[in-house]
Symmetry: C2
Subunit: 344 residues, 2 copies
């Protein structure tokens, strides 16, 4: 008999509970009837003392403090990388499994970077409390769609252009975009505290730091995280990451080059059978993935599946995906990791 | 001595003068001091009798009628393809040079498809009144940026993802988007007469018909028009065309594969010296092409120029462009064709 790694009704903690991802995680706990025995919520000192609703109970926001993870079985981190770097190892030392949404440990070779539908088997092999990193939202949404095709025919190269929502920059960025819609309509000056520029009716290169090679961090993550998750250091990826005036679902235009040929029909069949994605690919009605239709949904929407005739026959494919950035791009993926840990 | 093809002060006509492109053309005539001796304006019977301002004079909108192009030297068409198909040949028969923004004659091998900065020499070779087609907006904006690179190193393949503005679907589509911003902010139901779906805070696959191969018309145009303009039937292009909630400038993420290697530095130097484009490529300040900064500008903005390390060294490059869809994407390109015709 395999001994359970985690009590069937674990004590959980949420660090960053007042942020967009933390709020979504609290909602998902209830929606999915997560069997938590208790929920503790942590946030910055500014939010400490507030009351949040967790699994039908009122809980008080606590500040992080030495020893605060004693008795916690699973700790979800959705705060800054700095917070994760400081506190996640302490949580593990206290005996908690840490599921970390930040970028702090994603590329750390000691830790698994997990999308349960893609590499959940790596989670099954873990035996003792550790850190499990949640990939960047753009990586999750792309890999949900392309991993089944990669398993089928081997992806040699991906060219990705993203259409990323405000939510990736947090709740304040979403509020900024919404506020600008009203102010623009009223002829009022636009407030730009987050992005420093007009966002409504505009788009701009992703607001992350750019390296010497001209790639920004968001683009680099897509390459490096995919190679780690797929355990495939040879896959070639080039990405252009763009912020568009959409509230909370990312879209991505993806062009694929395969190692072995795959027909459009076979690709569609593979995707139709894959977990966590939904085909929205109605050419007659011109209905394809749209971010508002992905919003609030667990599934990543996949469509515009078509052979790419600019490549050798059978070796190229295009597709377009939309996925809820806060949900599958962050909170849901984290919760699915916990569910997978509990299932073994 | 070469005889002028067109009087130095031509009589011009504008068909579709009340549309978004027609209005922009009227503004550009004044802005560029186009040496028209007279301007006649045509539109649908619904608009006939209205007064428009053209080169400082009030002119009355006329309906199209047999013989209406008598005495016209240059006729600009920016109405529907059906109108162009019916009336453009009549204008030519009357002795007018026709500059046609519609798709009616673009792929007709009898006629030149012209971007003056790219293939203006073809215009210089024309001797008698004919139809000259203006390419689709997405083609113009992409080719302004990539044609100089094509001349330098030969482009073998392009992967394009577009971020297209409302204006490509006309003034009513722009109004629909603007109206939705206000209605969304006021908590009112959204009106969707043009696109039949929420547009504010959303994006969707380009609303053109989709062929059996899964490509929509907008994507097919980019391929076919580029091959014609470059006189290069071998260039491979795959595109994904997407409508984003932006008012009037298109952006495009472009991934290039070259026939001969080109360094990032050389590409930047070539683009810096090319006509009609402006480099906006400040990595330190994270300033790159944005549609609101391209709006109202003649130049197509080009940035995010960087080597694509997913391809063999020197053979791959990424870039991002924004260009005013109504201006260089339509009205300005048409007027530049007329200027070029007058210059020889």
């Amino acid at each position: 008999m395999i001994q359970a790694r985690i009590p069937t009704e674990p004590a959980i903690a949420i660090v960053g509970a007042t942020g967009a991802v933390g709020e979504e995680l609290l909602a998902l706990l209830a929606e999915r009837s997560f069997p938590a025995r208790s929920v503790r919520v942590f946030a910055s000192a500014r939010s400490a003392g507030k009351t949040l609703r967790a699994l039908g109970r009122d809980v008080t926001v606590e500040p992080l403090a030495p020893g605060c993870f004693a008795g916690t079985n699973i700790a979800f981190f959705s705060a800054s990388s700095a917070i994760s770097k400081e506190w996640a190892p302490q949580a593990v030392a206290s005996g908690a499994w840490v599921i970390d949404k930040s970028s702090a440990f994603r590329m750390d070779q000691r830790y698994t970077l997990a999308i349960p539908e893609v590499n959940g088997a790596e989670l099954d092999a873990l035996r003792a409390p550790t850190i499990i990193a949640v990939p960047n939202c753009s990586t999750i949404i792309a890999l949900m769609a392309v991993s089944p095709l990669h398993r089928e025919a081997g992806i040699a190269r991906m060219v990705v252009s993203t259409y990323q929502a405000a939510s990736g920059a947090g709740a304040a960025a979403m509020a900024e975009l919404a506020q600008q819609a009203g102010d623009w309509s009223a002829g009022q000056p636009l407030q730009t505290p987050i992005f420093g520029r007009q966002y409504i009716f505009n788009l701009f290169s992703h607001d992350s730091a750019i390296g010497a090679d001209g790639q920004n961090e968001e683009e680099r993550k897509l390459l490096e995280e995919t190679r780690k998750i797929w355990r495939d250091p040879d896959v070639a990826i080039t990405a252009t990451c763009v912020r568009v005036p959409v509230l909370r679902a990312h879209s991505e235009s993806i062009n694929l080059t395969f190692r072995t040929p795959i027909t459009e029909e076979r690709a569609r069949a593979v995707l139709a059978a894959a977990p966590g994605i939904e085909l929205v690919d109605d050419r007659a009605a011109n209905r394809f993935p749209e971010p508002i239709n992905a919003t609030g949904r667990d599934a990543v929407l996949v469509g515009r599946i078509r052979a790419d005739h600019s490549q050798a026959a059978g070796f190229g494919l295009n597709l377009f995906v939309s996925g809820d950035q806060i949900r599958k791009g962050a909170a849901l993926n984290g919760l699915q990791i916990a569910e997978r840990l509990l299932s073994v």
